[in-house]
């Protein structure tokens, strides 16, 4: 196991270098002078342009600047954005809210998705199965921003059950409504995945063996069938956590959560290459770590899988 983890960690290095390299060149390669429009409606004075060119080494070739950037990263310094704020400070402000929201959304997604999936699998083709399939299709058909705006209008503005916007992103209570909105669409896929996996396991030999051993049905389904059906679900959830790091832009915008997605969008608009690269780099690392955890969980879920 340790050997496997070490090998995987070593693989992180080329992936990490490759993505930062690509993102760095994409971010700085955007057309237009990155300093244009930095001084409101006026043109920037020469002194400002000279100082910014010097600080961000805008007159050097991109590859040299990438070298400087890597050297800074090596020292644990993510650089300073065009606007004079440290990128690490911007990320520290944005990531906690996004991570909390993502985890809460995934928790709700798993609870709903797995429960619905298992119930649907126990009596495939019956009312519950058909009904959840239909409702799921309706939910998926709605674009995320429609659901988010509708939920905000109905439960926030009209009924007042939830705060309209998130004023304090450390409060899980305030994050609940956006998390439910995010979880709703994702749980549909998860419940379908769980359903088909459980149906398959229910027909397997080990479930028959468990039944003949006289185990209770709850134990048969809950432990033997479900545990062996979780691999596709865990894979999907892992992908989801990574996706929610930057992919919740729309929902974060509706509920006024200053998260990572919004930070990246804003940085792209203002040509703030350093912030873009910093934020994407952290997301890449998060993706890599989550993928590793997902792969390791396979061995726990399925005794037939070994890493060594």
């Amino acid at each position: 196991m340790t050997g496997y983890i070490l090998r995987r960690l070593l693989q992180f290095i080329p992936v990490f270098l490759g993505t930062t390299f690509i993102v760095f060149f994409l971010a700085w390669g955007m057309p237009g002078d990155p300093l244009a429009g930095k001084c409101g409606d006026r043109e920037c004075p020469d002194a400002f342009v000279a100082a910014a060119t010097e600080e961000f080494k805008l007159d050097r070739p991109l590859i040299v600047r990438y070298g400087y950037y890597l050297a800074d990263l090596g020292r644990g310094y993510l650089g300073r954005s065009f606007t004079g704020r440290d990128v690490s400070e911007q990320l520290l402000a944005a990531f906690p809210a996004t991570i909390r929201l993502a985890l809460l959304a995934v928790l709700i997604e798993v609870l709903l998705g797995v429960t619905i999936g298992v119930f649907a699998a126990l009596r495939p083709g019956r009312t519950f199965d058909t009904a959840t399939t239909l409702i799921g299709l309706v939910i998926i058909a709605f674009p995320g921003f429609v659901v988010a705006n509708l939920a905000q209008l109905v439960f926030g503005v009209r009924l007042g059950w939830f705060p309209v916007t998130v004023s304090d992103p450390t409060s899980l209570c305030e994050l609940l409504l956006p998390a439910i909105v995010l979880a709703l669409a994702h749980q549909v896929t998860l419940s379908r995945l769980t359903r088909s996996a459980v149906i398959e396991s229910m027909q397997s030999d080990y479930v028959r063996t468990a039944r003949t051993k006289g185990l209770s049905e709850a134990r048969v389904v809950g432990v033997h069938a479900l545990r062996n059906s979780l691999i596709p679900a865990v894979t999907y959830v892992g992908k989801d956590i990574g996706g929610l790091m930057a992919g919740a832009v729309v929902v974060e915008g509706v509920f006024n959560i200053s998260g990572v997605g919004g930070l990246i969008v804003q940085s792209i608009r203002s040509h703030d290459g350093i912030t873009i690269v910093g934020a994407v780099t952290v997301i890449v690392v998060a993706y890599l770590v989550i993928n590793l955890l997902v792969d390791l969980s396979y061995a726990l879920l399925d005794p037939r899988i070994h890493y060594d």
Binding site: P45, A47, A93, H271
Partner: protein, 542 residues
């Protein structure tokens, strides 16, 4: 049935877990504000809050209630009134003697003295500090010493001095400014935040100031960060002309105006400026807010810029420029597209600005299809397409489409709008008369005086003359105005504005208005000409 009971149990347990998770943290109704405070929507300042380096809206919104300068403008009348200054005198518009009031204090308790101005100006004008408002000081004698010209292709040399020779501290409460050229409206310019004083503590640690600015204005920053918003409390030691009646301002950061609007409607927010366009349709916002809506003109002009170079030989002909101007149905666009908020522009200077003259552009800024066609025919017609470039990430697309359609329908020239990827691409592409078509050109007044709408935009040396316009007669009038006293200068500037009709360097389109929605708690709202809220004049209901 056994199995489902187990699963139901599991599901219930899980539901309880979520509940516990949610309940475990305090119910997040941090929205209720203290009595006497107002909550206002704000956006994340892009950078450190240093007035001489803040040119974007979000940061300026935070700084405005914190800072005070020599003069300010009265929100109601727009007139320039003394703030920290007791007297600003000159005999030749070149040498200005400025006397300060005794006893005005910064929020850190130190008194505002003459050196706080002189040091601040020298620091901001010092080239290596790279301030975005650096060029505001270029009229002061000695500015060149702080900003030595760079040899071609090299970095600028380090200046030999850190102080401009044109600034002299006479005593604690008096200083003298020597200008290179006469500037009759220098006093109006002083209302811009680049000229505001800085406390001694700023020079020791500008970065700390950028996180927690210290000014001499009616409100002091108590706490806050760019991402969580700011709390500004009324400054008890404030001795200026704008003493507020409210206790404080709670600036809340919103990433979208739609979110803020929903909070306003739900009663969680007291003030929102610039209502989202989708809510202006059919006066939806006035119904949502039950009439708690304010529309006020602002000192801003949207125009259509164009090159005054051989980038497009057709557009070099004044008659074609005039024809384009007369082909645009401004009134219909404002009525339909902007729901009647704003007004068609009738000149190059926005209303509410000192020196504004209604109808400066005359018949050439009114919709007249017949005359437009006639002018075009006289000029020999227009061959090929006309392009309107705009920044794809801005909100001007629908307005530019409307302008383009209006031109095409009236003159029969094929007009195409073309989106450039974003603001940076747009601005580099449309700079210095390089572009071959039209482009939207927005100008927000830095200070409300006519010269600010003319000199930077249309003079040969203008810092924002993006069309590269040049007119000897126009420049001669600006030079003449510079030698006159301020009331005569304004007349000369007005004459210069009327001169623009002949060449039509930009086509004035409209003057947008500022929309504000407020909560029932707010009795009245007054806005400055730049569209910012005058928190000192804000009145709450008992």
């Amino acid at each position: 049935m056994k199995q489902s009971r187990f699963l139901v149990g599991a599901a219930l347990q899980a539901a309880a877990m979520v509940g516990a998770l949610a309940a475990g943290t305090t119910a997040g109704q941090a929205q209720t504000s203290q009595p006497g405070w107002v909550s206002v929507s704000a956006c994340t300042p892009a950078g450190p809050l240093i007035p001489t380096n803040t040119t974007e809206t979000c940061g300026s919104d935070v700084l405005q209630p914190i800072l005070a300068g020599l003069v300010t403008n009265d929100a109601k009348t727009g007139a320039i009134i003394d703030d920290i200054a007791e007297a600003i005198t000159t005999t030749d518009n070149k040498t200005w003697r400025i006397k300060l009031r005794n006893g005005r204090k910064f929020h850190d308790g130190t008194e505002v003295l003459a050196r706080n101005f002189v040091d601040a100006w020298n620091w901001a004008a010092y080239g290596p500090n790279g301030q975005s408002n650096n060029d505001w000081f270029s009229v002061i004698v000695g500015y060149g010493d702080l900003n030595p010209k760079a040899p071609k292709g090299e970095k600028p040399p380090v200046p030999a001095t850190k102080a401009m020779s044109g600034l002299k501290v006479l005593n604690d409460h008096e200083f003298q400014v020597e200008l290179k050229l006469p500037v009759p409206v220098f006093k109006s310019q002083l209302s811009y935040k680049a000229f505001y004083p800085m406390p001694d503590s700023f020079f020791a640690d500008p970065a700390a100031f950028g996180r927690k600015p210290v000014g001499a204005g009616p409100f002091q920053l108590v706490s806050g960060t760019p991402d969580t918003g700011y709390k500004l409390a009324a400054f008890p030691g404030y001795g200026g002309p704008a003493k507020p009646s409210i206790k404080g301002v709670d600036l809340r950061i919103y990433t979208s105006r739609e979110a803020a609007y929903n909070d306003l409607v739900a009663g969680n927010l007291d003030l929102l400026r610039d209502i989202p366009a989708s809510k202006l349709v059919a006066d939806l916002w006035k119904r949502d807010l039950r009439g708690r809506a304010v529309v006020q003109p602002r000192a801003n002009i949207q125009a259509l810029g164009m090159p005054y170079t051989d980038a497009n030989p057709h557009l070099l002909k004044p008659a074609i420029r005039q024809a384009l101007s007369m082909a645009i149905d401004r009134k219909a666009i404002v009525e339909i597209l902007f729901n009647g908020i704003g007004q068609p522009a009738t000149g190059w200077v926005p209303p509410g600005v000192e020196g504004y003259q209604p109808g400066a552009c005359g018949e050439y800024c009114s919709f007249n299809p017949e005359k437009a066609k006639e002018l075009l025919a006289k000029a020999g017609g227009y061959k090929g397409d006309i392009k309107v470039y705009y920044a794809g990430d801005s909100e001007v697309k629908s307005a530019m489409d409307a302008v383009c359609n209006s031109i095409q329908n009236t003159l029969g020239i094929t007009c195409v709008t073309s989106a450039l990827s974003d603001n940076a691409a747009f601005r580099s592409y449309t700079r210095s008369g390089k572009v071959d078509g039209l482009f939207p050109s927005n100008w927000t007044m830095d200070y409300p005086s006519i010269d600010n709408a003319l000199v930077p935009l249309y003079s040969k040396e203008g810092t924002s003359n993006r069309g590269a316009y040049e007119s000897a007669a126009f420049d001669a009038l600006l030079d003449k105005a510079a030698t006159e006293d301020s009331s005569a200068a304004i007349k000369t500037y007005q004459e210069a504005e009327r001169l623009l009709i002949a060449d039509m360097p930009r086509v004035p389109l409209w003057n947008p208005a500022m929309t504000v929605g407020h909560s029932p708690k707010v009795r009245s709202v007054t806005l400055y000409a730049n569209g910012r809220i005058d928190y000192s004049a804000l009145a709450l209901k008992e």
